[in-house]
Structure formats: C-alpha cells, structure tokens
Subunit: 113 residues, 2 copies
C-alpha cells in the first residue's frame, strides 16, 4: 500500500488511451503465474488500488469503479503493479481469493466462455 | 495451425469491442509464464495468426496488420489461443524469439518504460 501522493504520481504517469479513459489491466496470479483476467482501470481505480492494496477496476458496462470481490468476496490483493513500455497497460500481480471469473472458474481464460 | 474455415469460425466467435474493432491480446511465454505484452487483434489478425501459427496484431498507431517480428525477427510462435469468458480478450501462449519489447527487453513489463 502506497501513500496517496505516491499513488497519484504513478496514476498520473499512465496513458489512459482505452475505453472511457482507461489503461488495460492484466491480472496474473502471483504464485502460479496464471493469467486470471483482463479489465480496465481509470485514474481513480489506479489510485484506490495502490492506496488500499485491493484491486479496483473501471467497469465499462456499469460505468463505475468496481472493487473486485465487493459482491463475491473474491478479492485480489495487490503484490506488484508494473506498467508496460508505453504505459497504456499494467500488469497486476495478485493473490486471488477464490475464483477470478464470474462463471466460477479460477481464471477467465478457461475455455468455458 | 488451423484450416482457414476453422480459423474463421473462431475469429467470428469473438467480440471486437475495443479500439478499431479489436479484441485485447495478452501474450504469455508458454514455458516460463511471463506476461510478455498486451496488444490488439482485429478479425484478420486472428485469422492470420491461427492459420500461420505466427502471431499477428493490429497496430492501432499504424492502423495496419502487423506480423510480430516482421522487422525485428522477434517472432511469436503460437502454442495456444484461449478467449476469455466474454470473448473480448484472448490469451496467447507463445514461444517468443528474442525480445518481445521494442526496447530490447524480454517483456514489455520490465519497469523500463
């Protein structure tokens, strides 16, 4: 968890060029390395994620900030936050509680969609 | 490598809701599990990737199909292609030749951007 000022510095260093002014976020299981899901983060979601240590996204369907697990209990605890070379995507290394996917599977990439 | 007809079936099953009519593509090293890069694929890039076994993307800056490695020699050979639960993103498991990143690092997520 970072102080607010540092979180803002990092948030302001990103390039929000995707849907609704977002970066693409890829969540990867910290231990096993499985890619769990792909979602979007706006500036506020980045700040909340970095200051709380719990991953927040921007829901492009609900057009709202969304704390992953807020209804399911399937939180993602942030272990590492790594922007890519052009800063329009971030890799989130996380500890995933339960299932990352709303279908109940561990990852969203499980050939059941 | 898939027959053209099967590649088209898979390509037509995806939801191209991102920039320029694309899906988000996450390339992951097949062996080590490192997330190498995030890019976009339109329908044609998906078909070329599945039929040739060499990963093609849609360049949102050049607005053109782009065979990864066509200038650098740093090709990505496709090992697996897994759509996510809502079919607007795909996970590409690849064998990466050389560096995935144009900065010369193995991955685009290496804190040098």
């Amino acid at each position: 968890m970072l102080p607010y000022k540092r979180a803002v510095e990092i948030a302001d260093s990103l390039w929000y060029r995707h849907i609704d002014g977002t970066v693409i976020a890829v969540a990867q299981d910290h231990a096993g390395g499985d890619v769990l899901m792909v979602a979007h983060m706006n500036r506020e979601a980045v700040i909340r994620t970095l200051t709380t240590g719990i991953v927040h996204y921007w829901s492009t369907t609900r057009r709202a900030i969304w704390m992953k697990g807020e209804t399911s209990g399937h939180y993602q605890y942030l272990v590492d936050f790594i922007p890519d070379c052009d800063r329009d995507a971030v890799l989130l290394k996380v500890v995933q509680v339960g299932a990352a996917c709303h279908l109940g599977t561990r990852t969203c990439f499980s050939r059941r969609g």
